[in-house]
């Protein structure tokens, strides 16, 4: 009987080998996949209990983990929750957004750059600590924008973005209405779920970061792109003559394009500078008709339309310029109407590109990543996104935009003693809802330190008073002043 017993022992060996191989597959090779399953409570629980790193603005933590005495070891807190929520996002038991999401690996301590720290923690038998994320945000600019929106009163919906033109550093990003991430990070999960559901179903959509996730017609601020194309492709200058009448008969249609309030822009033929000063629809629509839609689209794309360029926050919406246009729609598009749609960040990039001699820098939000002992692990270096226009075009546009703030629609953004360049926009949407007010610009005009874009999507201001300059101008001004006259 020994022969079958030997066969049997080989069979048993195979059984046990299969068990061991399968266990190895399950616990080693397949472990990552199982750990990443969103229903895996163990991983969520551990992440929720861990001492996450802080999110820093300057030297101030806008998100940090403090010891907690309940079922989890640490509680995530957001000292200035409402103001910074669009940036930090929230860290709840169920999900993460914003920097909490995009920098989760660093904050939780799982990032490979934190390997040495993890090893030290393991040897010392201390609980692993996450790394810190330092943002590019300038708290003064952020405060200025946040207070600016607050001053407009309750019920305001809008966003503001500020960028350092020479680097692409995002200096401020405000979206209103905002939410309190502390409620979502609460350890009382019923409360946190309730708060989340309330925010989710709030008609004013406080969970949306309007600075990067809302695309709306940019209106007259888009005339900067049209002017750029006109100068680059048609060789126009600030002194080129363009039609400036009170209306423009569009080809192939009976539709007639009017200026705001049906007024003339100051004569049958005016200069491009004058046209930008008063934001003349007739002039820019006729410039648009002289350009091909390919030229307009290419110019828009050089400024960042149709692209994803923000990797530091999740969910950046792509700004659009429509494809294949009939001449009347091209005229509409050239003044930022029809299906042209841009985020406030995109319009800030247009201003920043003009400010930086035509070179658009890739916007970024994470300045440095440090270990819990504040050793710098990584520092973001500015990179170019594209060259949108030539330095000559840039300086001509700057000159025109300065004129807008000095004597045109942008006067509310004037700063005494400083040359400010800017452009307003008032975009029509549907007749039933109020227009969107835009402002974009930069300062100082000759040595730009900050480029901004402000969008007021809805406010309690009466319809007739809504204008980009009046609503957005003061906020933009405050943001620019925070950098120029600290």
């Amino acid at each position: 009987m020994n022969r079958p017993i030997r066969t049997l022992s080989v069979f048993c060996l195979l059984l046990f080998l299969a068990l061991m191989l399968n266990a190895t597959y399950l616990q080693y090779f397949n472990a990552k996949k199982l750990d990443d399953d969103p229903r895996n409570r163990r991983v969520i629980q551990a992440a929720f209990s861990r001492q996450r790193g802080a999110i820093l603005v300057g030297k101030k933590a806008v998100a940090s983990s403090v010891p907690s005495k309940d079922q989890f070891k640490f509680q995530r807190t957001y000292p200035e929750g409402q103001e910074y929520a669009p940036l930090t996002g929230y860290f709840s038991y169920y999900s993460q957004t914003g920097i909490e999401h995009s920098q989760n690996q660093v904050l939780s301590g799982d990032d490979s750059r934190l390997f040495v720290t993890r090893l030290v923690d393991l040897v010392n038998n201390t609980d692993p600590k996450g790394g810190n994320v330092e943002l590019t945000i300038d708290p003064a600019v952020q405060d200025a924008a946040y207070k600016g929106f607050k001053a407009l009163g309750a019920g305001v919906q809008g966003a503001a973005v500020a960028i350092e033109p020479s680097t692409g550093r995002i200096l401020a990003m405000v979206s209103t209405p905002s939410f309190d991430p502390n409620q979502l990070a609460a350890h009382d999960l019923t409360k946190s779920t309730k708060a989340y559901n309330r925010l989710l179903h709030d008609p004013s959509q406080p969970l949306i970061n309007r600075a990067i996730q809302t695309t709306l017609p940019p209106g007259s601020t888009f005339k900067l792109v049209t002017a750029s194309a006109a100068m680059e492709d048609l060789g126009m200058t600030p002194d080129s003559k363009v039609p400036g009448g009170s209306s423009l008969k569009l080809p192939q249609t009976t539709h007639v394009l009017h200026n705001e309030n049906n007024e003339s822009c100051g004569g049958a033929q005016i200069t491009l500078t004058q046209a930008l000063d008063v934001s003349c629809n007739v002039s820019f629509a006729s410039v648009g008709l002289k350009l091909t839609d390919q030229q307009l689209r290419t110019q828009a794309e050089k400024f960042g339309f149709g692209q994803t360029y923000l990797s530091d926050l999740p969910g950046q919406a792509i700004s659009r310029f429509p494809t294949t246009l009939t001449p009347p729609l091209r005229a509409q598009s050239a003044i930022g109407q029809y299906e042209v749609a841009a985020t406030p960040l995109q319009m800030a990039l247009v201003a920043a590109g003009i400010a930086n001699h035509g070179v658009v820098m890739k916007p970024y939000l994470v300045d440095r990543v440090t270990s819990s002992d504040l050793d710098v692990l990584d520092q973001t270096n500015p990179t170019e996104l594209s060259t949108a226009i030539s330095p000559k075009t840039a300086s001509m546009l700057t000159q025109m935009m300065t004129s807008v703030v000095d004597r045109g629609t942008g006067t509310p953004a004037r700063i005494p003693g400083v040359e400010v360049a800017g452009k307003t926009g008032t975009a029509q949407s549907t007749p039933t809802r109020p227009p969107y007010a835009w402002f974009t610009g930069f300062a100082p005009a000759q040595n730009p330190k900050i480029a901004v874009a402000v969008l007021v999507q809805a406010s309690n201001t009466s319809r007739s008073e809504i204008a980009g300059g009046a609503l957005g101008g003061p906020i933009a001004k405050a943001m620019m002043e925070a950098v120029i006259n600290p």
Binding site: M1, P4, L8, F16, A23, T24, Q27, R42
Partner: protein, 463 residues
């Protein structure tokens, strides 16, 4: 010197000292594990560590002393292996007790009592039965006993459904799973039966495509066993035992007859039964479905749900190579972590390393059992140890394979680790039987050689 004379003249050493040394190591695992659970979960060494450690030491040293006196030539590795597994199992059960809030009267205490009973029965078996061949006399008695035990849960009044399987009997405050005891009795019955009938089963038959197939009339026993297994499956919903008993019978039949034909017949019957069961028995169908698509049945409100399996898989993945350490994982998320799914709890907190080590230990137990079978001098002893060793191998494969999703989940206890009195006691008896056979097999033969010159009797030629 050829292999045969070598085997005849080779004298096994007792190796009791080696056994004692290994037992000390197993105690280190058991008591150390218990202390580690206290430190990991409650940040302090358990207050009763001395009492607990002392009790474990008394049991294990007691077992060793019994072996030393009544089975001095027994295999020295088996006892330390099972002592280690039992000690580790106690520690893990204690850890799960703490997670569920039980302080001192939890399952670990119960399990220690069962272990005590198991060790006592272990000693009684070794002391009371000096020669395993006496069991051969009870071939049919054991068979009958096994059938009665298996039928008992079906009796109204004492049988009870627990988690969809009717495998428990309750007598007053006592409850136990007769299947575990039936397993031992069945091995004895199979061994006794096959020793008597192996020639008939082995020799007759016809050759088909190079394989000897048995005669139709000899198929009786295997068909009977197949039907019994199916009955257990259909009536008691006990997939694990059904598989175990039938597999056991086929293996022993193959070893007894040395004919691969029986494996083909047995394998064919198994396949027919398995396919039919997975088609027509809802309970089995659900298990197969969960095995194939565990993630789709996780957290579902209706229908079969795979929460137990998926939580165990999450836990084992979370444990990774080295495990989270006692007290740092969430093994309480797995339902029945202390019985069927104890490997999931071990995988989570002690890691792949411990899982592999435990599977290796089981492998070693099987290997020592089969080794005993090979060197055993009588057929009954050979078959008995083959049966006991392969019951171990099958059970471990079925339960660990089920927990790690190698095969569909069936529901058997993990020998020596899982919480469960019947299983623990039955397994201690199995080890006692294996030690008894191995003592017999390794014991030197009495010196029967004498030289021709000293021959005192003469060959008498009969007219």
């Amino acid at each position: 010197m050829n292999a045969q004379t070598w085997a005849r003249e080779f004298v096994h050493r007792q190796r009791r000292g080696a056994e004692l040394f290994l037992l000390v190591l197993s105690l280190v695992v058991g008591v150390g594990g218990y202390a580690a659970v206290g430190i990991g979960v409650e940040q302090k060494v358990p207050a009763d560590i001395l009492g607990y450690g002392g009790w474990l030491t008394v049991l294990i040293v007691g077992a060793h002393v019994v072996v030393r006196f009544v089975a001095p030539y027994a295999d020295p590795v088996l006892l330390p292996l099972v002592a280690m597994l039992n000690g580790l199992g106690l520690a893990v059960i204690r850890r799960l007790d703490l997670a569920s809030g039980a302080s001192h009267h939890g399952f670990a205490r119960q399990q220690l009592i069962w272990m005590t009973i198991g060790v006592v029965l272990f000693a009684v078996t070794l002391i009371g039965m000096r020669d395993h061949r006496t069991m051969q006399r009870f071939t049919y008695t054991s068979g009958l006993g096994a059938v009665v035990l298996l039928l008992m849960p079906m009796l109204p009044g004492i049988g009870k459904d627990i988690n969809g399987a009717r495998i428990w009997i309750h007598l007053g405050p006592l409850s136990f799973q007769p299947g575990e005891v039936a397993k031992v009795l069945l091995v004895v019955a199979f061994a006794g039966y096959l020793v008597l009938h192996r020639d008939a089963l082995a020799l007759a038959g016809r050759r088909v495509m190079g394989v000897d197939l048995p005669r139709g009339r000899d198929l009786g026993p295997i068909l009977a066993m197949w039907l019994i297994s199916l009955a257990i499956l259909v009536r008691q919903h006990d997939l694990g035992s059904s598989l175990l008993f039938f597999g056991l019978f086929v293996i022993m039949l193959y070893v007894a007859t040395e004919r691969r034909g029986w494996i083909i017949v047995g394998g064919g019957l198994f396949l027919v039964g398995a396919v039919a069961a997975s088609r027509f028995i809802g309970h089995v169908q659900a298990r197969v479905d969960i095995w194939l698509h565990p993630m789709q049945h996780y957290g579902t409100a209706a229908g079969p749900h795979s929460d137990q399996l998926v939580e165990s898989m999450f836990g084992m993945a979370w444990g990774g190579l080295l495990g989270r350490g006692f007290g740092n994982g969430d093994p309480w998320r797995i339902s029945y972590a202390n019985s069927d799914f104890i490997m999931g709890a071990i995988g989570e907190e002690l890691g792949l390393t411990a899982v592999l080590a435990i599977v290796l230990c089981y492998g070693l137990i099987v290997e020592r059992g089969l080794r005993t079978a090979i060197i055993c001098r009588d057929d009954f002893g050979k078959l008995l140890s083959v049966g006991l060793a392969s019951s171990f191998a099958l059970q471990v494969f079925v339960v660990v394979g089920g927990v790690t999703r190698l095969i569909p989940l069936t529901g058997l206890t993990t020998p020596f680790l899982s919480y469960g009195g019947s299983s623990l006691v039955a397994n201690w008896v199995i080890v006692a039987l294996l030690l008894r056979v191995s003592d017999h097999a390794r014991r030197p033969l009495p010196d029967l050689s004498f030289s021709a010159s000293e021959e005192t009797t003469q060959v008498v030629r009969l007219p």
